[in-house]
Amino acid sequence: MSQTVVPAPVFTRNVPAPPPSRLAEASQAIRASLSGSPGRLRLISLGAVACVVLSALLGGWALQMRASALDRAAASSAHLLLLQDVQTKLAQADAAATNSYLGFGLEPQEQRLTYLAALSDASIELAEAARHSGADAQALGQANAALNRYSAYVASARANNREGNPVGANYLESASNLMRDKIIPPLQERADADTADVKSAFSQGANARWLLLLAAVIGVGGLVYAQVLLTRHSHRYVNLPAAASTLGLVVVLIGAAVVMSSAQSEASDVRDGPLNHAIGLSTSRVAAFDAKAQESLTLINRGSADEEDKAWNDAFDKAVDSLDERIYFTAKTQLDEYGTAHQAINQTDVDGDWDTAVKQAISTADGSVNDLFQSYSDTTQKDLETQATAASDRLGDANDRLLPVALILLVVGLLCAGGVWWGVSLRLDEYR
């Protein structure tokens, strides 16, 4: 018996073919739009627009980088001058405190007020300077704590001096040591950091011009190349909208280069001019006040004077060396006159006439050592204010023009991109 095996029925469903996906459709449409001569024109147009937009962005970035560097240089310069001013005021306070101590407890009221004002100003400026950065906050915070201790020591020195206690001189010397060991070094350290930051900012600013050059190569080069391709395809030599866009981009890039170069030049002038002068003047004043304090400390430590007078000479030489004689002839002359008067006092002390030396050192009469020093101090303070203001204003002015030009570059860049697109569109219309 045989049995027939019937194959199992096969069920088939009539499923329609899946519709092409949207992505595939878009891809197909793009391929179609980019094929043939119209397609190549569209590619040229896209490439040209991309080059112009990229050029505008790079140019804007270059200008912003320059502006940011100048901003940083201006901020660090301002901070540097602020720190120098704090150092000057502290040195001035120390000089006033030590000189008034020589008055045997009956210090001149004017000197007392000078000390109080200088210390108060220094304390306020120190708090302001500490807000500049985290590193400043830490270092200057320590300096401020030491400054509180310094003022307490000076107060103890003064109180003991008025009561006739010799420990007053020990307090005063401890205060001066605190100033030199714990207060001035962190200030100097932060001032050095500012100097390095100014240098780095100028260097970073210089790099911006290469970025601007790159922007010009990409933008102008891209447009010129696009027009060459257009000429090949359309057999027309000039595409007016594209040519106008190229010209516009060239003009605005040249304008940006001129403004950037002018800002760079102005910044360099400020760095080599007012800023350097202000730093030199400030350094000279700090050292000169330090010399004045050393003069009084030597007399307070009766019998410690010698021919070498090293501490005073070190400070005085620094004060002299920091002054550019060609520019500050008057201040230099006044400083030399003070130096001569001091040397006479020291020689009097070395020769054993301490009483006369002290009388000369605390005198404020015309032609006295204090009078001569005050002349130098007044002159340099006025010069310093002039230079510091000029440095701050000119750095700000140089910077003011950069960001508006960056904005113009972006706007013109977009217009140029539109112009190129329009110019190619005119050629495309001929294929419809």
């Binding site: 045997f104 103890s156 003991n160 006739g164 001189a169 401890s174 019998g303 009483d355």
Partner: protein
């Protein structure tokens, strides 16, 4: 350490009693060269192994007096008289002994008055040029010739007589003692009571050497006056120095007090350049006069009154020979 200190304190106390007994007699008007061993005052200070004499022994005047006719042609006194100026090393921050009067600006104190008398004896109207020096500078200043005399609460010790930086000393003009200065509410009276705590002492001082020897924890300062700053600022718990110096500190700080017995006997002498025997003899002659006319007693009363029991004016001890060094 406590045991050692207690023994030292007992010894010092006994020495002080003997010393007072020995020095209680009226000062003698005549210059007498006495062998060191025979003088009671010298028994409690160190005896120098180099010549077997007390550290307080000096050169007898032997004919050198305050009369310029007794001086040799090349004497230092003659040269000083001729120059019109005596250059001296003093303390500038040791109240009662050598410190600046803040009202007048002038240096004043026991040591200053001794030097003024010596200057007067060299020549009437002789000008004194003061060089304020710290403890460690006293011997170098004499050896280098920067100063001609040092009166600076200077302890007469054998090393200072005989070591590398040896100088000459006059006879003793004051007997001090090393003590401790603490807060007035402190119960500490000895270095042993302050074990493990920071104690201030001046570099180059015998007090510092003693403190180190007894295992103390010192904070060294160049000027002893800085110790009072450290003490008042709370950086040290006590100061150890001569009671003369500490008395000056206590006079400046009502919350500081000199406590306990003297740890060591501290004889003061005027420092003189090494090998200038004639000048040393002259200074000794001046000091003899100051003993005999009561000047040293008056100076003791003037500057040290109110600082506790005053020591008697020490008698001169002689016997040191030039070739003994």
């Amino acid at each position: 350490m406590v045991m050692n200190l207690s023994k030292r304190a007992l010894t010092a106390t006994a020495a002080g009693v003997l010393l007072l007994a020995g020095c209680g007699a009226a000062p003698t008007a005549t210059i007498q060269a006495q062998p060191a061993a025979a003088v009671l005052a010298a028994t409690e200070v160190e005896t120098c192994s180099q010549d077997g004499l007390s550290a307080t022994a000096s050169f007898a005047p032997d004919g050198i007096s305050t009369n310029p006719s007794s001086w040799s042609d090349e004497s230092t006194m003659g040269k000083i008289r001729k120059s019109g100026k005596l250059v001296v090393g003093v303390a500038g921050d040791v109240k009662l002994w050598g410190s600046r009067n803040s009202q007048t600006g002038q240096l004043e104190g026991f040591d200053i008055d001794v030097l003024k008398r010596i200057a007067t004896e060299i020549g009437p109207g002789l000008k004194i040029e003061y060089k304020v020096i710290n403890f460690a500078e006293r011997q170098p200043a004499l050896i280098d010739g920067d100063v001609q005399l040092v009166a600076h609460t200077m302890t007469m010790t054998c090393p200072r007589w005989f070591d590398e930086n040896a100088i000459n000393f006059s006879t003793e003009y004051y007997r001090a003692g090393q003590k401790v200065l603490v807060r007035s509410d402190s119960k500490a009276t000895t270095l042993a009571d302050l074990e493990g705590q920071k104690i201030c002492a001046a570099t180059g001082s015998t007090s510092l050497a003693n403190l180190k020897e007894q295992g103390g924890d010192p904070l060294e300062v160049s000027d002893v006056g800085d110790c009072l700053v450290k003490f008042q600022e709370g950086e040290v718990i006590a100061i150890t120095s001569d009671d003369t110096v500490l008395a000056g500190f206590a006079a400046q700080d009502p919350y500081a007090e000199v406590k306990g017995e003297a740890i060591t006997e501290v004889p003061y002498g005027v420092g003189i350049a090494p090998d200038d025997v004639e000048f040393t003899q002259f200074v000794n002659a001046v000091l003899e006069e100051m003993r005999s006319d009561g000047t040293l007693q008056r100076l003791t009363d003037k500057y040290m009154a109110g600082t506790g029991e005053l020591p008697a004016v020490p008698k001169a001890v002689y016997g040191r020979k030039v070739d003994g060094r």
